[in-house]
Amino acid sequence: MQSSVSRLSLWLLLTPFLLWIVLLVLLPHLQMLRVSFQVRESWDTLAWGIDQYRNFFTESYYWRTFVRTGVMSLFTTFLTLIIAFPIAWYIARLARGKARGLLFLACLIPFWASELVRTYGWMILLRESGLISSWLQLLGLADAPVEMLYNDVAVIIGLVYNGLLFMVVPLVTTLDGLDENLVEAGYDLGGGHLTVMREVVVPWAMPGIVSGCIVVFMLTLGSYLTPILMGGKDSAWFTQQIFTQFITRFNWEQGAALGVLLLVLSSVIVWVGLRLSGQSLRKVMG
C-alpha cells in the first residue's frame, strides 16, 4: 500500500518534468538534427543527405564565421574573467559591511536592463555622433567626429559588459568561502603574491571560475543583438547566419545544420572546459 502510494506520487511529480524535457527540449532538438540531414529535391519532396554539412565546409563564409565566433567568444570569456576577478576579490574579501552589499548590488545594476537596452547604451556612447566622440572633440583630442562603433573592439566591449554579472556572482560566492588562514599560511611559507594566487586562491575558486566561464561563454556564443548592432560589415556572428537561413531564406534544412554545428561547438567547448578543470556540470551548475 505504502509503496503504491509513493509510486503514484513519484509518477505525478515525474510527469510534468518529463513533459517539459521531452516536448520542449529533447524532441525539438532531435527533429532539428533530423531536418539537418534532409535535402530538398523539389518543393515537396525530401531526400536524406549530408549536403547541408558539405555546404558548411565548402563555403568558406560559413566556417570562417564559425571559427571567428568561437575564437572571439573564448577571448571574451577570458577577458571577462580577468576583469571580474579583482572586483569579485574586493567584494568578497576586502570590502566590509554596508559597502560590500552596495558594491554587489552595483554589479547587478546593468542587468536590470535587457541586452537590447545595454547595447543601445553603448551605441549612443560609441557612435560617430556619440558621446565619447563629442567629449574627445571638446577636450581637443580629436578634430573631427570619431567612429568607434561597428568594429570588433566595440563588439567585445559590449559582449564583456553583457557577461560580467554572470562572472562576478559565482566568483564572489566561491571566494567568500575561502579560509584566509590558507592565504596567510601561503605567505608565511614564503610565497609571493603570484605563488599564493596560483597555488591557493585559484584552485579554491575553480568551481566559481568554471561556472562563470561556462555561462559567459554560452551567452557570448549565442548572443545575437550585440554583434549585429555593434559589429561592422565584416564582423558576422554565427547566430546571424542561422537567423538568416530560417527567417530570411526559409532554408530550414541549412539553418538546422548550422544550428546543430553551433550546439556541437558549445557542447564540446563546455565539456573540454569541465575536463581540463576537473569539474562536473552538476557541481558547477546545480
Binding site: V25, M32, I109, P110, V117, R118
Partner: protein
C-alpha cells in the same frame, strides 16, 4: 591581498582606481540612455538642448509622438506582459514540482534526469528557439499539407514564444526553489504529520510557506527574464511582436529618443521588481 597582509599604498591606489573605472564602465551606458530620454532634440546625441517630457507625453501634433501615444510600442508592451505572465506561471509551477522531485524523492536514473534538467542552461537561446520552430511549426506545416488540418497554435506566435521561454526559464526557477527546499528542516514536516496532518495538509501549511520567498524570487526572475528575452523570442514570434523585438526593429530604422524613453521605463520597472524580490528574500 587579504586584510591582514600589508599592502603598499601604490597597490591600494591602483586597486581603488580600477574599482572606480569598473563601476563607471557599468553605469555609463545606462545613465546615458536614461538621460537622453529627456533631451529636447529629435536625435539622442549631444549637445544637450534642454529638458522635455515630450518623448513620453507628446501626442503627435508637434511632429513628435511620445511613448504613451505610440500604439505600436504600447501594444508590443502588452504582448510582452502577457507572455511574461504565462511563462512565470508555468515555469514557477514546474519549478516547485521539479524541486520536490529532485530534493525529496529517490528513484532510479535520478542523476541522469537531473543532468537533463540542467541541459537547457548549456543550449544557446537561439538554438532553443530554432529547434522549437522546426519541430512545432514543421508539424503544423505537415498537418496542413497531409491532412488539411490547421494547427495554428503551433505557427510562430505567442504560444510558441511562451513554449520557447518556458524551456529554459523552468531550469532556473527549479534551481532557485530547490536550493531553498534543501535547507528545509524535515522534522517540521514530520511534526505536522505526527500531530495528525495528512501529507497534503502538511505540505500546504508547513513546507509551502517555507518555500514562498524562493517562489516569489523565482517568479520575479522568470518575469524579468521572459520580458527581456530576445534570442529565443525572435525565432518564434509571429505578427504580434513583443517589446524587445519591436524595439529592435525600431532601432534598425534609426534611433529616436522614444527608444530611450522605453529603455528608461524598462530599467525602472525591472529595478523595482528586483528590489521588491530582494527585499522580500532578505527578511527571511
Amino acid at each position: 591581498m587579504i586584510r591582514s597582509v600589508p599592502r603598499s599604498r601604490w597597490f591600494d591606489a591602483l586597486y581603488l582606481g580600477y574599482l572606480v573605472a569598473f563601476f563607471l564602465y557599468l553605469a555609463l551606458p545606462l545613465a546615458v540612455t536614461g538621460a537622453f530620454a529627456f533631451n529636447d532634440a529629435p536625435y539622442p546625441s549631444l549637445p544637450w538642448k534642454g529638458f522635455t517630457l515630450d518623448w513620453y507625453l507628446a501626442d503627435g501634433t508637434g511632429g513628435r509622438t511620445g511613448l504613451f501615444h505610440d500604439d505600436g510600442l504600447l501594444s508590443a508592451l502588452w504582448v510582452s506582459v502577457q507572455i511574461a505572465f504565462w511563462v512565470t506561471l508555468v515555469s514557477v509551477a514546474l519549478g516547485c514540482v521539479n524541486a520536490v522531485l529532485f530534493e525529496r524523492l529517490d528513484f532510479r536514473g535520478k542523476e541522469f534526469l537531473y543532468l537533463l534538467m540542467l541541459l537547457p542552461l548549456v543550449i544557446p537561446g537561439v538554438i532553443l528557439g530554432v529547434s522549437i520552430l522546426v519541430f512545432y511549426s514543421g508539424m503544423a506545416n505537415d498537418a496542413s499539407r497531409s491532412w488539411g488540418i490547421e494547427l495554428d497554435v503551433f505557427r510562430p506566435g505567442m504560444t510558441l514564444v511562451v513554449m520557447g521561454q518556458v524551456a529554459f526559464i523552468s531550469t532556473l526557477s527549479t534551481l532557485v526553489i530547490a536550493a531553498r527546499l534543501r535547507k528545509f528542516d524535515r522534522q517540521l514536516e514530520e511534526a505536522a504529520l505526527n500531530l495528525g496532518a495528512t501529507p497534503l495538509v502538511a505540505w500546504f501549511t508547513v513546507t509551502l510557506p517555507w518555500l514562498l520567498p524562493s517562489i516569489a524570487g523565482a517568479a520575479a526572475m522568470a518575469f524579468l527574464m521572459s520580458f527581456e528575452n530576445f534570442n529565443t523570442t525572435v525565432m518564434l514570434t509571429g505578427s504580434d511582436t513583443p517589446l524587445t523585438v519591436a524595439l529592435f526593429n525600431r532601432l534598425r530604422e534609426g534611433s529616436t529618443p522614444v527608444l530611450n524613453a522605453v529603455a528608461l521605463l524598462l530599467m525602472v520597472g525591472s529595478a523595482l521588481l528586483a528590489l521588491i524580490a530582494m527585499g522580500r528574500s532578505d527578511k527571511d
